[in-house]
């Protein structure tokens, strides 16, 4: 029973890895708070969007086994 968390850009640099496996959390908010503390992410949750399985989702989405979660810092393509 786990989820995969993907990191990009500034979050990847801070985490030092591009992904990690974690136990299925109760909520995305709880998951981000845990990871923010662990890796020292500078972004508050309200600066980020969140995606599940390759599509943006709501922060209220309840994670399930095998989900692939990504926290999305402000983008700067183009």
């Amino acid at each position: 029973m786990s989820v995969t968390v993907l990191y990009f850009a500034a979050l990847r640099e801070a985490a030092g890895v591009s992904e990690e496996q974690l136990p299925v959390p109760d909520s995305l908010t709880e998951l981000y708070a845990l990871l923010r503390e662990r890796h020292g992410f500078k972004h508050a949750q309200n600066q980020l969007r969140v995606a599940c399985n390759g599509a943006f989702c709501d922060w209220r989405y309840v994670p399930a086994d095998d989900d692939v979660i990504a926290f999305i810092p402000p983008v700067s393509g183009g």
Binding site: L6, F8, A9, A10, R12, E13, A51, G54, A55, F56, A70, I72, P73, P74, V75, S76, G77, G78
Partner: protein
Amino acid sequence: MQFRITHSAIDNTAWREALCDARCGAYAAFEGWVRNHHAGRPVLGLHYDCYPELAEHEGGRILAEAMTRFDIIDARCIHRVGDCSIGDMAVWVGVSAAHREAAFAACRWVIDEVKARVPIWKRERYADGDSLWREA
């Protein structure tokens, strides 16, 4: 209608050709080029990080939305990721339509949405040795 992420140079000629259609009187294109300065600071080059699966999903949604918002015939976009040098084409948007009003409006709207919504991040390398993830 097609949105792609690529790791290599963008073949804008081929992407433009795909839009050719006898019903179209107007074609508008936008290209983002890697420029040698940002906010007054000399830039040596940049690197784009990307979440490709999400980027192609979200990019496809943007193009589909453009097709419903504007009176256009087709819209396509490709964004390069990885290392880019000064002068490289980082992004290309092309729109075809019967008339120019819609072609321009849709082309502008697509690049604005891509820059606002697609999970791509730019790290600029500055001449002073510093480098930085740009966030919007």
